[in-house]
Every structure is written in structure tokens, then in C-alpha cells.
């Protein structure tokens, strides 16, 4: 798919949303802090808002062109939308909600059939209920199913996991992954949670105060943020693929490049994960023997040192590339030099495991 958002200019309360991007990947995350204009961007794509200037094209269809003064009305865009508050119709049963977007003649594409969607999202038992009887997670799946049953060309999701607590988030992510895999519908997810973006998306657009700060594949943006601002938002200095070997007592043993780490067990059952470690969570110590609460002590070698203002970015080889952020003073005190051996300490909760 290709989604072109060119020359977008939309004045908002505190800033102007200005976007000029092309998205080609299957699942794109629009990432940014709250109030960055993300929801407004989704509204523009869905045709629910008009911008001062905009050119929006999905595959070959021009949806909005303010220069030529054309705009396809919302109900003809074929763009599914799952808003943050889900917006299930309270006066209709779950069944009527689901069927609302279905074309009367049925859908041509069998993958969007009622039974298939219901099966993938596991909502068969909910169908005859009323909307108010559903739990948060159930509402989420019904809203998702409703959007899918309209056979959309593009699916917009506004903070799909924001209103859920951690266990529920972990439950819903697989459904979203299933939607991604089973329905071949391109998805655009708005999120302010970097790990959500990592879990779901191929491509990420970082939006801050209405401006696009960086776009690109997720892992690249996360590990090579283009600016300090983006780094503050997304930076995960160490991002490595890993495999969970075992789970015991809420702790997971992860293997990264044959190095074993102890981390908090994620709620998903997925074995293949990304191991994410933020630079500021890495503690460097000369003496490995001093007892402490840390679960992971990794012997490492300093590969390079990069001063970044008051901090120093230390690239280490711990069996896999590991990055630490320490103060210049600390660096001087420890007398860090390239090639030196040092111990890296990682607390188990600092190692984030995100299903791949």
C-alpha cells in the first residue's frame, strides 16, 4: 500500500500540524507525546476534518486535494477507524454494531466475512450481548471487528492499547498482530507507548508538536534517533533480537547472541522477542565481585566513547552490542578507555522484552 500525506497544514490550538510523508509499509505507527496532533492527523486521513492545505492519496485514489478542491466524503473513503473511546453504538446490540458497516450484498473478499472476523477476534460469544455489558477488552475487540467487517482499505487505530491495563494490553496485542497477519489490511496506529509501536509496527513516524521529526523502520528510529528530541521520546539504545528460554516465577531467561539475561517475564507467550535496554539503565562497574541486587552482570569490553553534552555514550561489546549512557564525571572517575574491560550491570526490570 502507499499512503501519501503531502503538504498537510492544519492549525491547531497550540501549534500547526505540518506533515509531508509517504508511508509504504504494512503497519505504520504514528508516535508522539500526547497532544502532538496525532488524532487530528487520523481525522484528516479519514476525512473527518478539513485542513488548510492537504494532499492525501491512498494507493491510486486521491482522497483530498485542497489545490484542486476535491475531497472524497468520509463514507466513501473505505477507511476503517477505531477511535480511542471506541465509539460503539450504545443503542444497538453487538451484532447490529458489527453489521453496521457491512454492505448489504455481502463482501466480495471472503477474508472479511462475518464468521472469519468473529473467529479471529474471538467475539462469537459476545454477539448477542448489549454493548454496555462488555468489558474493556471485549469492547476493544468488537470495535476492531466492526471496522474490519466494513472491508476497509486502510485501518486507523487511535491509541488501541491506551485505556487498558498491562495484562489486558498483553492480551490485545496478539489480536492486533492477528489482524495484521490475517487480513492484509494496512494499519496506521497512533500511540505514545514506544513498546507498543515496537510490537506492532514496521514503520514509525515520530510526530512532535505537529511536526514530523523522523520516519523509518521502527528498529532504526529507535536505535538511531535523528535528534535529541526524538531520542528522548523513543531512544532505546540497545535493541537486539532474543529468544526466551524459560519462564520461572515471573522471571524470564532470555538468550541474546548466546548471552543469558534475566528479565521480567512478559505477559505474552511469544518466545521470539526484541530485547530493549535503555542506555541510562546500564550501570558500569569496575569490580564485578561486589554484591548487589542486580541480576545481570555482564563482562564487557569498551568499544567506543562518544561525548554527548553532559553524558557519554559508551558502546560496549557484552557478547552483543550494548550501549550505556553515563555522565562525563563518572566516565573520568572510572577512567574508561577504548578496549578496556568493564562490568555492565543490568537490573531485570530494565530489560524490556517486546514480542517480535
Amino acid at each position: 500500500m502507499s499512503l501519501l500525506l503531502k503538504n498537510i497544514s492544519l492549525p491547531l490550538a497550540d501549534f500547526t500540524l505540518e506533515v509531508d510523508v509517504e508511508m509504504h509499509r504494512h503497519v505504520t505507527a504514528v508516535f508522539g507525546p500526547s497532544g502532538a496532533g496525532k488524532t487530528s492527523l487520523l481525522d484528516l486521513i479519514a476525512g473527518l476534518r478539513t485542513a488548510r492545505s492537504a494532499f492525501i492519496q491512498l494507493d491510486d485514489h486521491t482522497l483530498t486535494d485542497t489545490v484542486k478542491k476535491t475531497s472524497v466524503p468520509t463514507h466513501r473513503r473505505g477507511i476503517g477507524y477505531v477511535p480511542q473511546d471506541l465509539a460503539l453504538f450504545p443503542h444497538l446490540s453487538v451484532r447490529r454494531n458489527l453489521l453496521y458497516g457491512c454492505k448489504p450484498g455481502g463482501v466480495n473478499d471472503p477474508s472479511f466475512s462475518f464468521d472469519h472476523v468473529a473467529e479471529v477476534l474471538e467475539i462469537q460469544p459476545l454477539i448477542s450481548r448489549g454493548v454496555t455489558e462488555l468489558s474493556g477488552g471485549e469492547k476493544q475487540r468488537v470495535a476492531l471487528a466492526r471496522a474490519l467487517l466494513a472491508a476497509p482499505r486502510l485501518l486507523l487505530l487511535d491509541e488501541p492499547l491506551a485505556n487498558l491495563d498491562a495484562p489486558l494490553k498483553a492480551k490485545i496485542i496478539p489480536y492486533l498482530a492477528r489482524v495484521r497477519d490475517e487480513f492484509q489490511v494496512p494499519m496506521l496506529c497512533v500511540t505514545h507507548d514506544r513498546f507498543e509501536a515496537l510490537a506492532l509496527a514496521d514503520e514509525i513516524v515520530v510526530l512532535v508538536d505537529g511536526k514530523v521529526r523522523q520516519t523509518g523502520p521502527v528498529s532504526e528510529v529507535f536505535t538511531r534517533p535523528a535528534s535529541a528530541e526524538v531520542a528522548r521520546l523513543v531512544a532505546v539504545e540497545t535493541l537486539q533480537p532474543g529468544t526466551i528460554m524459560s519462564v520461572n516465577d515471573g522471571l524470564a531467561t532470555v538468550s541474546v547472541n548466546r548471552i543469558t539475561l534475566t528479565a521480567l517475564a512478559p505477559a505474552t507467550a511469544s518466545r521470539e522477542v526484541f530485547v530493549c535496554i535503555r542506555g541510562e539503565d546500564v550501570v558500569l562497574q569496575r569490580d564485578p565481585a561486589t554484591p548487589s541486587s542486580v541480576r545481570n552482570r555482564l563482562p564487557a569490553r569498551v568499544v567506543s566513547l562518544h561525548p554527548e553534552g553532559a553524558l557519554v555514550r559508551v558502546e560496549l561489546d557484552a557478547g552483543f552490542p550494548l550501549f550505556a549512557l553515563v555522565t562525563r564525571a563518572a566516565c573520568a572517575e572510572l577512567a574508561l578507555r577504548e578496549g578496556e574491560a568493564i562490568t555492565a550491570l543490568l537490573k531485570a526490570p530494565s530489560i524490556h522484552l517486546v514480542p517480535r
Binding site: A87, Y100, G101
Partner: protein, 223 residues
């Protein structure tokens, strides 16, 4: 109650009901536009809609008389082209009741529409529903309580309408005599017993209509 009195009651009831039905499409359209759209000069429209509520009814009646009389802008057209007379016929009663009760419907319906979460309407559109479908399947059902309450209020107002009616319809026995006109006439003639009988019916009808209306207009408990 004599047969003639029952005829007056029946006439008042059905012409009031008909007026409520007639104002429904215009009233709802107006209420929706006021609830969902903004444009320069909107406050002028809002004022015009409210005018019949606050102007002296006879003044409104006078305006209608001028417009719909045989020499008036609209009445002339109706008389010459369609051979239809409005003034001094039951059609004038319908006209007066409709104009006087419409503001009540519009106000109640507008509030009801404003209370429908616009997000629901937007999502319905993303699901492929055009404007009309969104209105009839999402907006109206969710606003139903307020709309019905407004209709009942308009009906009650129509039942009691006097000033504009007497201006445009006169009080022709058997043809345009409504409850309120008949009460007035009987007091003029000195027939108090009859006036009081009609008054009694009038009170009962108004009470029932308003009571039902309050039931619908009462704010829903937060869900």
C-alpha cells in the same frame, strides 16, 4: 358535554396532532443544523426561531394574516394558482398552531441532538453510512427521548393556542372553533357552564400532554 362540544374537543385534538406531525421534518432539520453546524448569521436564525415564543401571539397572527391573506405574498399564490384559501379555514388553524408550537420542538430537539456524541456519527460515516443514514440510524435514535419530549410539548402548546388562531382563522363554529376560542366565545356570550366544561377538558388534555413530555425530557441518569 354536548355533541357540539365534543366536536370542538375532537377538532382541537386532531388539528394539534396534525400540526405536530407537520412541523416534525422542518423542526428536526432546523434543530440538527443548529446543533451541528456553525455559520455567520447563525444567531439571527436562532432569534427568528425563538420569536414566536416571545412575541405577542396576536402579533404573530397578524404577520401570518398578511402573508397568507388572499392579497398576501403566499396567500395570493395559493388562491390564484391552487384555488386554495387559508384565512378563515381549518388550514389557518393548522398554520397558526404549527408556527406557534414549532419553537418548542426545535429547542428541545436541538438539545437532544447536541447531547449525542458526535464521535458516534463520525465513526458511522467511516463505516460507510452517508448523511441520511447516519441521521436515521445513529443521531435520531439516540436523541429520541428529547425529540419525543419536544413533540409532546409542541402538541400541548398547540392545544392551547389562541392569539394567532383567532387572527387568522376567526372562530367559525364547526369549522375553526378550537377549545380556547370556544372558551373565550362562551365567556363573551355569558354561557359560563359551557365555558367551564370546555375549560375542564382543556386542563385535562394539557396536563396529560405536559406530564408525558416531562417524562421524556427529564435528563437521563448518567450511563
Amino acid at each position: 358535554m354536548t355533541a357540539e362540544e365534543w366536536q370542538i374537543v375532537w377538532f382541537t385534538a386532531w388539528v394539534s396532532a396534525l400540526s405536530t406531525v407537520i412541523i416534525l421534518p422542518f423542526g428536526l432539520a432546523l434543530a440538527w443544523v443548529l446543533a451541528r453546524r456553525d455559520w455567520p448569521g447563525k444567531s439571527i436564525v436562532e432569534t427568528f426561531v425563538t420569536l414566536p415564543l416571545v412575541m405577542p401571539p396576536v402579533a404573530t397572527g397578524l404577520i401570518l394574516l398578511k402573508l397568507f391573506g388572499r392579497r398576501g405574498a403566499l396567500g395570493g399564490f395559493l388562491h390564484d394558482q391552487l384555488h386554495l384559501d387559508v384565512i378563515f379555514t381549518w388550514r389557518a388553524v393548522l398554520l397558526a398552531l404549527s408556527v406557534m408550537s414549532m419553537p418548542l420542538l426545535v429547542r428541545a430537539a436541538r438539545v437532544a441532538f447536541e447531547e449525542v456524541n458526535p464521535r458516534l456519527e463520525q465513526i458511522a460515516r467511516t463505516l460507510g453510512a452517508g448523511g441520511r443514514r447516519v441521521f436515521f440510524t445513529v443521531t435520531l435514535p439516540l436523541a429520541a427521548r428529547g425529540v419525543i419530549g419536544g413533540m409532546l410539548l409542541a402538541f400541548a402548546r398547540a392545544l392551547g393556542e389562541f392569539g394567532a388562531t383567532i387572527m387568522v382563522a376567526g372562530n367559525i363554529p364547526g369549522k375553526t372553533s378550537t377549545l380556547s376560542l370556544a372558551i373565550f366565545e362562551n365567556v363573551q356570550l355569558g354561557d359560563d357552564p359551557r365555558a367551564f366544561r370546555l375549560l375542564g377538558v382543556s386542563v385535562v388534555l394539557a396536563f396529560a400532554a405536559v406530564w408525558c413530555s416531562e417524562f421524556f425530557l427529564r435528563r437521563k441518569k448518567a450511563t
